[in-house]
Subunit: 261 residues, 2 copies
């Protein structure tokens, strides 16, 4: 397929590389800055541009991968004069109907992963969630996704909101727990890398056990002595102490609910 | 070395297996129930017992791996009549001086990992934190640990408190974030296993980047529209909503501090 990228961020960069490897033809890359448009075009092919009015009209698929906040503003400009083409955005938390009235065929293609430009990911195992405004778009997206990922799911805009929320917990909040752990260690001269085997095992465990079955630690058994003394260690950091206390209560309540108490 | 285990839980089971593989001789296993003493003795060798007074006096090392809450009560019983032997406990959050006045040589051996009985772990990569009340004990523990792990660190009881707190964030709280994610998905018919590639990548990232550098998502850029609408999705679950809001604030504050704003 002939593809044009609108946006050249982390997600666009990783997706474009996967498309190139699957034999698709990236004919143009638009970005706000020539530097980033050029960087992606060099990696994945196509001509870079920073002029939205010069985006070509002959692509099969337009992939809008930009910040949520500029998506609504960009959509009319990208669709104008190409109303019969197929447009998708890649934003987990934004609805499909942003395209309504702007184009005939549109949808969403949300590859759920945390992307960085430096680190290559294996796209074939990344779950991709698609949505289309009509059967034509849906079928096209499904066939398209299957050229680079084995895991394609249809999901409505409404359910995708919850998927994205789940991803915030499982990725952003998890990483913040790593960050808080790192802060605690650093203040006592302990290198963060001692934590890596535990971090890896914690991630590996939920491949085989449900997170509820995998839980361990003082909050699970509500060991008040340990909880109280750990909480006290954080007394100079009210926000972290608060997170510690509430997380502990939440773990304990989940466990009580699970046991049906 | 001739080793006796006091306690037969997840940690003891995994450690005993590693000791057996490294050529140590487990001569006895004490547990409150014959079932668990027998289970560990079958795996790792030695005679099972539930009678603390019948614990043999001829071991080189006594490893107390029991619940934090019963440690103080068990220590005098285990040490009595064997004051010249070497004793360690394996509790991350308990001080070494629980043994003070009870024995001549004592310390702590804390292998930092989340253990389960079903799942074998590679002990050689598990960081083991040791502490000893004298040079004799410290040297003995260091040599002992090097027979089964490549990662042996000396750490005081005071610093170990913070290490254990860091582990609660990086393991228990992380796993609870997985659990909350799973709840959100389940309520919308989305299988939790779609989250695994993201979970793995999030864990992998901090092998190469600091958690602060690895952070992504709406809270990092403080995208108030996304944060507000995601928070609203949790309005029927006040505790989870509260964790969402506070986590988001904490991520944002960390980022501001990092940027020196």
């Amino acid at each position: 397929m002939k593809v044009i990228f609108i946006g050249a961020g982390n997600l666009a960069t990783n997706l474009a590389k996967a498309l190139l490897q699957s034999g698709h033809d990236i004919i143009q890359v638009y970005s706000r800055t020539m530097e980033s448009a050029q960087a992606l075009a060099t990696l994945a092919g196509g001509a870079p541009t920073t002029d939205i009015t010069s985006v070509r009209a002959d692509a099969d698929l337009y992939i809008l991968s930009v910040k949520d906040s500029v998506l609504a503003e960009l959509i009319p400009k990208v669709c104008a004069g190409r109303e019969n083409k197929v447009f998708v955005h890649t934003a987990g938390s934004m609805p499909m109907n942003l395209f309504q009235g702007m184009a005939l065929h549109y949808g969403v293609l949300y590859p759920m992963q945390s992307f960085s430009k430096q680190k290559e990911v294996d796209f074939s195992v990344i779950p991709c969630f698609i949505e289309g405004n009509d059967d034509y778009t849906l079928q096209l997206l499904e066939e398209f996704v299957h050229t680079f990922s084995d895991r394609c799911y249809q999901l409505s805009s409404e359910d995708r909101k919850y998927l994205h929320l789940g991803a915030v917990f499982a990725c952003n909040f998890v990483n913040h727990c790593y960050e808080l752990s790192s802060e605690v260690l650093q203040a006592h001269g302990i290198p963060f890398d001692v934590m890596l085997p535990l971090i890896d095992e914690t991630a590996q465990k939920v491949h085989h056990l449900s997170p509820a079955d995998a839980q361990t630690g003082p909050a699970l058994r509500y060991d008040e002595n340990v909880i109280r003394s750990q909480s006290l260690l954080l007394k100079d950091n009210p926000l972290m102490k608060d997170l510690y206390d509430r997380m502990s209560v939440s773990i304990h309540r989940t466990e009580l609910r699970r046991k049906g108490e």
